[in-house]
């Protein structure tokens, strides 16, 4: 996995710098911030095809872990507090 991540991070398209140089500095800074945020969000999972390139931009919530899948539970997340939850029947098209 380490070799794979290193190779991915070292890949830089030849024209990337040229494109960035043509942008105003404030836009370059914004792009750098986006990239930093993305790298913080992105996690490469070993042996998980496809998931490594997506990053985490959404967090599904469901009544059970994926059906018929083996899973693990995070040791600390959420266990120190309770949340007030309202469970509602609502179509995706109607929700915000």
């Amino acid at each position: 996995m380490a070799r794979k991540v290193e190779a991915t991070n070292n890949v830089e398209p030849a024209d990337e710098d040229a494109g960035a140089a043509a942008l105003p500095s404030e836009q370059v800074d914004a792009l750098d911030a986006d990239e930093a945020e993305f790298r913080a969000l992105r996690r490469d999972l070993p042996g998980v095809k496809g998931a490594s390139a997506t990053g985490i931009v959404a967090m599904p919530v469901g009544k059970t872990p994926a059906k018929n899948e083996f899973f693990r539970t995070h040791r600390e997340f959420g266990r120190s507090y309770r949340s007030l939850i309202w469970k509602s029947a609502w179509s995706d098209s109607s929700s915000r």
């Binding site: 969000l41 998980v48 959404a58």
Partner: protein, 134 residues
Amino acid sequence: MERQFFAVTSDMVENLHGIGISVTEHVLYLTVTSRGAIRIVPVRQANADGDQNEYHRTKEIGLVQAIDEWVRLYTDQENRCYKVFTAPAGRFSEPQWPELKEAKIFGLAFRDKGRLVDSAEHPLFKKWAARDSD
């Protein structure tokens, strides 16, 4: 129609009750499958009398057991509960968790999807209160 979970701020509980919506306490569990799918699973807690639905109670048992080992939940329809099947030791490698703070994960799961009811101006609250044409 799809069942969805909405988190509610404490100060909105009374407002929701006023329009006939009740909220219940849940503990949130963060899970990851052996294929890397991450999901938050809210588990409804016991009511004021200490009663907890058997499905919820046994699901929580499985979620807690999964802190230390890979498990799979399946339903026992005869007894109306979940049962836990444990994977053989060493079958899967250790889970990889996202390096995100709880607040960020909570935000991704609820606030960013419009599923944090934190004011009477929330679109869903307004819809339930028939104020959505304001």
